[in-house]
Amino acid sequence: MRLGLDPLTFLILCPLAAAAAVALLGRRPTLARAAALLASLVELWGVGERLAELPVGGWMSWEVRRAWLPDWGASWHLGADGLSLMLIAATALLVPLVILGSWTQVKERVAPFHACLLVLEAALVGTFVARDLLCFFVFWEAVLIPMYFLIGIWGGAGRMAAAVKFVVYTAVGSLLMLVAIVAVAHRGGEWDFDMARAAAEPMALPAQRWAFLAFALAFAIKVPLFPFHTWLPQAHVEAPTGGSVLLAGVLLKMGVYGFLRIAWPLCPAAAAAAAPWLGALAVCGILYGALMALAQDDLKKLVAYSSVSHLGYCILGLASGTPAGAAGAAFLMLSHAVTTGALFFLVGMAYERTHTRKVGDFGGIATAAPRFACAFGVIAMASVGVPGLCGFAGEFPVLAGAWAARPLWAVGAALGVILGAVYLLGAFQRMMFGPVRLPGGLSGLAGGHFPDLAAREVMVLAPLAALALALGLYPSLVMDRLGPCVAAIGR
């Protein structure tokens, strides 16, 4: 099955090879979709095998190291612990769902779309398994190229400005990160890009401060942490549904992952000193994102701002400096991938039916499309943190950690939870209940009703809804494998 490759290299090369094959199927759109779906399912199967092997505690496994640039002390060094593997699992789960979800939404240039998705998947997996700083940077930057095309070619009316803004914002941070990586790799006068060794022997404090600043800027832009978030609403609104799902579901997590894996372990003293600032920014982001979401009428923009708010909790958990906060932040990444991914799918489905995303245009969908309303309800409640669903299981440890560190942060963050319920459940109520109200064009077009979810759409949403429930009811299934990986942050 793995063609003699080690498991992690296989997980990177499988989507890449599939992308090349899919790109050649330019004249056969349906075949291209099917091939891409098959490849992404093979990838999911491979990740599933690794998940089954992952020990409780989530220690680093499947390490592989090959010479890459021996003169510079850089190597093809991969390895996955619980944190890496959970994020890869989220990626590998979302990609087939995106392919299924885009089945009818992407009608033009089908083969290149799926090739871009698969290249993106390979780069994302690579980012999460790289154990060498230079490797990490290569994958980190490689993510930009397919995403640029996904937004720029298949996006909405303002797609070009959004695509350029996305790339340039990220590049500002990442090129400074490259400088920081160079600084870290040269800490002892010899070149060494190995992450574990860099974490074992951190630099002196003044150098650490500068390196942390560069790393933190790069990751804060990606997260995005307030006030570096301004690229995000535009990119989300203009991206096609599949692009938004992966952007919110996985790409934003690269930033949090970077904080957890690189900024904190490599610059521990500087990180501890900067934590109060990060925490304050995180609380600002939670409240700002929530208030902005409250003011939106465009459902996609609302979900985008809710991402700013939710990612704030992740950073708050880190900044709290407690094991509970860090574990909660890691858990929240997965929970956010599930809920926000599903929300973007739902927004895309509503838009495909009605060609509008305005909350005010809808009303009473629940009577016409009960399955749609039910899925929306479950996901919205998971997203706002109703106990028993996945959002709560992540937010609670973060709030607990924040309370232990600075009670004021916990108060602000809790306020954000309340606001979250107001904006998301408020939108849910306006769209689903009340008198049936549909956008003008629809009443004549589709027999005057909002078509309910088709079987394919149920297949997209059901796994996510099931996961939201499973993670909420039995969080320790994941937490036991995540927590130990990030516990070092706590102390």
């Binding site: 640039l69 510079w72 930057e141 490689a142 720029g152 070009m160 695509a163 590049a171 090129l175 160079v182």
Partner: protein, 464 residues
């Protein structure tokens, strides 16, 4: 004497084939100069093989030949190899470009070969008179090459704008060499320059002259016009080969002059900042690539500054080779498109190119992303190698400046990519590259450069 003959061996195929072409050009004109170009490609290949053989001979790197006037150390061999490869690529591109634009290419082939010979000699020269003579040999040929497209005014303008400041720069170089001799009593590059004012004047004049050839700000004024007006194959050669040879000489000058760090750093920052900001305003593809060439001179100055502080020259040669590969790929694609366009090649004309010519569009995009320094292309490794070299010599602030500059550069490298992939051709704008045109050598070279750029970027152990 044997050493001398061996040292000249890599140059012989170039010189002899150039002489042959000059004499028998009329006989070879029957097929529009195709045979002449192929002969030139063979000569370049022979020269490359001889270079590989000669540069590993014992003593060739250190003592050299002719009492040390010529020596093939690591950087010299890299640069000479880059020059020969660039000449071969330019000659391969020439016939179809010439046919499309109604040029003859027998004489351009001879000029390219002579220029390549001069630049290879410059790469291994260890003495100022040899260096200046070889540079002048190359420059005279290059002025004529820039004006090779005789039917177009833009080409004549390019030649004139290249020639006039170029001649002045040559005079400055000569004066500098004279001062060098006055200050040190020797014309060898290895002579230690004394602290006396004359030494500083010598180093300054030589740096100005070489900075002109390398396209450093503020001596870059000729470059955009020359690059935009010259035929694309000639531009590809100029961009790749002249830069490589000029930077080889600059690096040696910087290393033996010493104490000029502030000036070098200033040139680096001024060059990259100015070129990247000016690049943002460009609307024509070749002009944009010209500003990209200037900006890369700035990044290269970072490598030169590090080399002056004692860094390994490997980073600089690697950067020159990687830059040559990507820039030839980009100009090859520009040449294909230019030969199908009527006027200058505006970026707006590239809109929707992806639908008409997917392979060519992808190749150009990868070359541009490589020039922008995106992984996993070779451009990233080149940039990282210069950054690491500069960092290890304590030039942290220069590295930060270069990193910020790379972000600005993204703004214009993405412009053609955006036009080709993201935008559709509106009504009323004349498109270049209709679907009917079949594959050409230009697209083949562009694709080869893009593929090599990615493969060498992923597997650096092959070449680094």
């Amino acid at each position: 004497m044997i050493a001398g003959a061996l040292a000249l061996a890599p140059l012989l195929p170039l010189a002899s084939s150039a002489a042959f072409l000059l004499v028998f050009d009329r006989r070879l004109r029957a097929d529009g100069g195709r045979a002449a170009c192929w002969l030139g490609v063979l000569a370049c290949a022979a020269s490359l093989i001889l270079l590989l053989k000669v540069s590993i001979l014992p003593g060739m790197a250190g003592a050299g030949a002719f009492g040390g006037m010529l020596a093939y150390d690591g950087p010299a061999a890299w640069i000479a190899g880059t020059v020969a490869a660039a000449a071969a690529a330019s000659l391969l591109l020439m016939p179809s470009h010439a046919a499309a634009r109604g040029m003859t290419c027998g004489d351009t082939a001879a000029l390219t070969l002579m220029a390549a010979m001069g630049l290879m000699l410059l790469a291994c020269a260890r003495e100022w008179l040899t260096a200046i003579l070889s540079l002048e040999t190359a420059s005279v040929c290059l002025y004529a090459l820039a004006g090779a497209d005789r039917r177009r005014a833009s080409s004549a303008e390019a030649a004139l704008k290249y020639f006039l400041p170029g001649a002045a720069a040559s005079a400055v170089l000569l004066l500098g060499a004279a001062c060098w001799f006055g200050a040190t009593g020797s014309t060898f590059l290895s002579a230690r320059l004394p602290h006396a004012p004359l030494g500083a004047v010598a180093a300054g004049l030589l740096a100005v002259g070489l900075g002109f050839k390398a396209g450093l700000v503020p001596f870059h004024g000729w470059l955009p016009d020359a690059y935009a007006g010259a035929p694309a194959p000639a531009t590809a050669f100029m961009a790749a080969a002249v830069k490589a040879a000029a930077f080889g000489a600059l690096a040696r000058l910087a290393a033996s002059a010493g104490r000029a760090e502030a000036a070098l750093a200033f040139l680096a920052v001024a060059t990259m900042t100015f070129a990247n900001l000016a690049g943002l305003a460009q609307t024509a593809l070749k002009r944009l690539l010209a500003y990209s060439a200037i900006a890369h001179s700035g990044y290269l100055m970072l490598g030169v500054t590090a080399y002056a502080r004692g860094a390994d020259p490997g980073a600089l040669s690697a950067y020159l080779a990687a830059y040559a590969l990507l820039t030839i790929g980009a100009f090859a694609a520009a040449g294909v498109l230019e030969s199908e366009a009527t006027g200058g090649l505006e970026i707006a004309q590239l809109r929707g190119l992806w639908r008409r010519r997917p392979v060519l569009a992808l190749a150009l995009a990868f070359c541009l992303l490589g020039l922008a320094g995106f992984p996993p292309t070779v451009g990233f490794l080149a940039k990282a190698s210069v950054f690491t070299a500069a960092w290890s010599k304590g030039l942290g602030w220069l590295v930060v400046a270069a990193a910020l500059n790379s972000v600005v550069a993204l703004g214009y490298y993405l412009k053609p990519v955006r036009a080709m992939f993201l935008e559709d051709l509106p009504e009323g704008v004349e498109a270049v590259a209709s679907e009917s045109a079949g594959p050409s050598t230009g697209s083949a070279i562009s694709v080869a450069c893009a593929v090599l750029g990615v493969v060498l970027g992923i597997l650096p152990s092959i070449w680094l």
